[in-house]
């Protein structure tokens, strides 16, 4: 932070009146609202206003001169200025067109341009409005209908197509902010957010599911019920299926862009009984080949 006296261009011995005079002289030139088109005016004005905040106040000036405070505390927070709103396209009661009204009345090409822009303004299309819509994973695969409650209390019905992906934006034409004149309404843009699912994961058009099976089902094979996002189906688990075996349910994945469906891939996970089982223990201890099989053969130890 620069020395406030230097910023204001006065001597350290300057009187309070001189300080105020110096500040006002600079502020008249640099106030952002007196320079609506100067993007840098704000930075320049902040500096002199911050400097005057320190030395323009008798008490603060004394403490600054004694080295009790430094000028850094005088950083002004970002504030909005009148100019940030006054030229916006939104209507406000301070709009004043008398600065160019006479131009509009003439018959030349420039007046025609002005009139055309006035017509364009009178028929401006409404803004697009953005929403975020969280849905369940299963809904993202199967599709669903949702009703959004809008800030103004209205509602918006949204049809979520099957197979939608995270971040996809649905555009509802004409459901945004109303326009003026014949401008028509803007659109509602709905960004879909898919909640994580504890069981299903999606990769491309395929869906992954880890499925626990019993030891009996793994050894002997079985027909079991498997959940899919569109409902449970029956799947054959072949004899001697191991943990990590992946079975493919064709066409049970997400809808493909080009038509058809991806697959659901079911990864099996063999689960022993939760409680110790004496019968199983007796069987396994008498099971000869179980003692010679080494599944860790290929694992470096």
């Amino acid at each position: 932070m620069k020395d406030p006296y230097e910023v204001l261009g006065v001597a350290r011995t300057a009187s309070a009146e001189d300080l105020q005079k110096a500040y006002r002289k600079l502020a008249k030139k640099l106030h952002p609202d007196l320079n609506p088109g100067d993007a840098e005016a704000e930075e320049k004005f902040k500096e002199i206003a911050g400097a005057y905040d320190v030395v323009g106040d008798a008490e603060k000036r004394k403490r600054f001169d004694n080295g009790e405070i430094d000028a850094a505390g005088a950083e002004r927070p970002r504030q909005s200025y009148y100019r940030d709103y006054a030229s916006s396209e939104e209507n406000h009661p301070y709009r004043n067109n008398s600065g160019f009204a006479d131009f509009m009345d003439s018959e030349d090409g420039f007046a025609e341009l002005l009139r055309r822009s006035a017509r364009a303004q009178a028929n401006r299309r409404g803004h697009d409005i953005e929403y975020r819509l969280p849905i369940e994973f299963i809904e993202s695969i199967a599709g669903t209908n949702k009703r959004l409650t809008l800030p103004d209390g209205g509602t918006l019905d949204v049809t979520i197509p099957p197979g939608i992906v995270e971040g996809q934006v649905l555009r509802l034409r004409g459901k945004g902010a109303p326009g003026s004149g014949e401008g028509g309404s803007g659109d509602a843009l709905i960004e879909v957010e898919i909640k994580a699912d504890p069981s299903f994961k999606r990769q491309g058009d395929d869906i992954y599911l880890e499925l626990p099976i019993t030891l009996t089902e793994a050894v002997l094979g079985a027909r079991i019920r498997v959940p899919t996002p569109t409902g449970a189906v029956t799947m054959a688990v072949p004899k001697c299926s191991n943990t990590g075996t992946v079975l493919r349910l064709r066409g049970k994945g997400a809808p493909r862009h080009a038509g058809g469906y991806g697959d659901q891939l079911v990864k099996l996970k063999v689960m022993l009984p939760k409680e110790p089982d004496p019968e199983l223990e007796t069987f396994v201890s008498g099971w000869e080949s179980g003692k010679t099989y080494n599944p860790r053969e290929e694992v470096a130890t």
Partner: protein, 94 residues
């Protein structure tokens, strides 16, 4: 953002009497009816500007009215320039 009278006064750090006086001068123009005035961010920023002019720059009340009027004409023209830029940009050339 729509503000009612109470919200506006507290956000702009303005007293009732000052508000009445400034409306009288047409420095501020509330929307809605007399009983149910409504304001927005532009009014808060305008209050800040008036205060900067009055206290910061030492402009007297007559001067403030003149400055606000000229400034609003300037912003009217800036808006028109922005709209014109759009018309020129989208117009078929030639």
């Amino acid at each position: 953002m729509k503000l009612n009278k109470q919200e506006f006064l507290s956000l702009a750090a303005l007293g009732h009497e000052t508000l009445t006086a400034w409306i009288e001068e047409e420095w501020l123009i509330p929307r809605g009816s007399v009983d149910e005035m409504s304001f927005s961010e532009i009014d808060v920023a305008r209050v800040r500007l008036i205060r900067d002019l009055k206290i910061g720059l030492g402009v007297n009340d007559e001067g403030i009215g003149v400055i606000l009027n000229l400034l609003d004409q300037l912003h009217g023209m800036r808006r028109k320039l922005i709209d014109l830029r759009e018309v020129v940009r989208t117009a078929p050339s030639g």
